[in-house]
């Protein structure tokens, strides 16, 4: 967990409003766990708060992130040029665990929930696991990373309007993907709820919560535990998560 000004080494437009940025810096070497995130400070004091973005891939001292332009912060990210720097705090949070006993993993990602699954797919594949991947988009034009994922396993695409792959939501492709031992998912909350219902409890869910500090101090990002423990009734998405066991927290 360090703070460093990473240097932009490339910026690429993957789909409408979707960009991949590569950044370089020493702290990247400690970004080992998929599902962790970096907290980016853009533009001095405006905007005031950092922006959480998932680690999408790491190679030595190079970090890849994929982001969708939503508001002020991500717009400023999109304006960065090669050689510019980005103040990054990370890696933050607890990422996806790779469980030795599970052989086949089903990865289910929707929209900008997809990027962290890439680094996960890569590590699972490198560990010799079988990987299946469901990627959900609104429509064909918005698709990204589908080819890159196919290096690691079979890819099932869903689009809401049926313009590519299965028509519908990611959950509509779970049956098609067949058997799996463990699942990993990241995407908007309604999707996570649907996946949890459809895919059972042996799995991991990555949550997006609005954050303040990103380090566990402000309690902006808490989620209730489904079964409160004696001393603990909630968890912090930024510090205890963003990845939780399926069924662990109230979505």
């Amino acid at each position: 967990m360090k703070k460093e000004n990473l240097t932009v080494i490339s910026q690429e437009n993957l789909a409408p409003r979707i960009y991949r940025m590569k950044l370089k810096g020493e702290s990247v070497r400690s970004m080992l766990t998929p599902g962790q995130f970096v907290h980016l400070k853009l533009g001095g004091r405006h905007p005031l708060l950092r922006r959480p973005i998932s680690i999408c891939d790491v190679e030595e001292d190079q970090l890849s992130i994929i982001y969708r332009v939503e508001g002020q912060g991500t717009s400023m990210l999109a304006e960065k040029k090669d050689g510019d720097t980005v103040d990054a705090l990370g890696p933050l949070g607890e990422g996806f665990p790779i469980t030795p006993s599970d052989d086949t993993a089903l990865l289910i990602g929707g929209g900008v929930g997809i990027p962290p699954l890439y680094y996960l797919a890569k590590q699972l594949y490198d560990k010799g696991k079988r990987v299946k991947i469901i990627l959900g988009f609104r429509r064909q034009e918005e698709m990204f990373l589908t080819e890159a994922f196919s290096r690691f396993g079979e890819v099932f695409v869903t689009t809401e309007n049926g313009s590519c792959g299965t028509r519908g939501f990611v959950t509509d492709a779970i049956a098609k993907a067949g058997e799996f031992d463990v699942f990993y998912t990241c995407g908007p909350k309604p999707m996570l709820r649907a996946v949890e219902k459809a895919a059972g409890t042996n799995g991991y869910i990555s949550l997006e919560e609005r954050m303040g500090c990103g380090v566990g101090a402000c309690l902006a990002c808490v989620c209730d535990l489904k079964e409160a423990e004696t001393d603990k009734s909630y968890v912090k998405a930024c510090k205890d998560g963003p990845v939780f066991q399926a069924g662990e927290v109230v979505l």
Binding site: M1, K3, L48, R50, M211, C213, A217, S233, K239
Partner: protein, 313 residues
Amino acid sequence: MNRLNVELPGLKMKNPVMPASGCFGFGQEYAEFYDLSVLGAVAVKAATPETRRGNDTPRVAETESGMLNAIGLQNPGIDHILAHELPWLEKYDVPLLANIAGKTKEDYVLVAERISDATNVHALELNISCPNVKEEGLQFGSDPQMAAELTRAVKAVSSLPVYVKLSPNVTDIAGVAAAVEEAGADGLSMINTLMGMKIDIRTGNPILANKTGGLSGPAVKPVAIRMIYEVSQRVSIPIIGMGGIYSAEDIIEFFMAGASAVAVGTANFSDPFACPDLIKDLDRLLEEMEVSHISELTGRSWNKWEPNLSSSR
């Protein structure tokens, strides 16, 4: 030469900078970034008698040069705080200002009494101004009589100095300040957050689950400075100033308005190293300004005579 050490009732501080209550948890998280002993003091998260779940999420929203929060005083309750949080902080050489909240006078008295026993708690901060908790707290902050009564009740059960944290959401903050001074308060903390709201225009709903929240950050600094300027001329107890501090220049401005120490809240979220960086920058800036001791600046905007030589240094 030490230009930075200040002494306020109960708080012997290496420097005038402390993290603000609610913006630093109980220190654990920031201890992963730096040694907490560099801080002047630590104002810990509000304690209530019972465990509090707080409000639903989203609990924060960003605004222009500010942020809204509606955490809702989530905390593990006084028992857990005494058993786990405060003892953990004992390894640091830093005095604690214990922030206290509650629904009733009895709540405050109970927490005050119990938390005063913690060896590293050197002073109490009565949060009579948290705007995010329904039907409680707030009325203490907006009514001088009730604020005074609460202060008196807490003073009666604790031998620690008591700071009252004032709400800016009032017509006459100096009136509340004067009333709590009269009731025995040893110091003031100001300002807490301004009540605000933000609406997501795509949905038409307030962004915060709690709808309204407390505005903090640089946006509120002019309001904080004005209130400290006003109150410091009316009372003679010291003021811990806060509201939008992001630079050493800001700290000087708070001192000149009338503060004797400062607290830093939102800036910690923008940068986890905010407090230690501010302490270093402040020292450098005072040297540049040829100020021999920070406490000489207290009230400089209205107090044009010579620095008060009896002030602590």
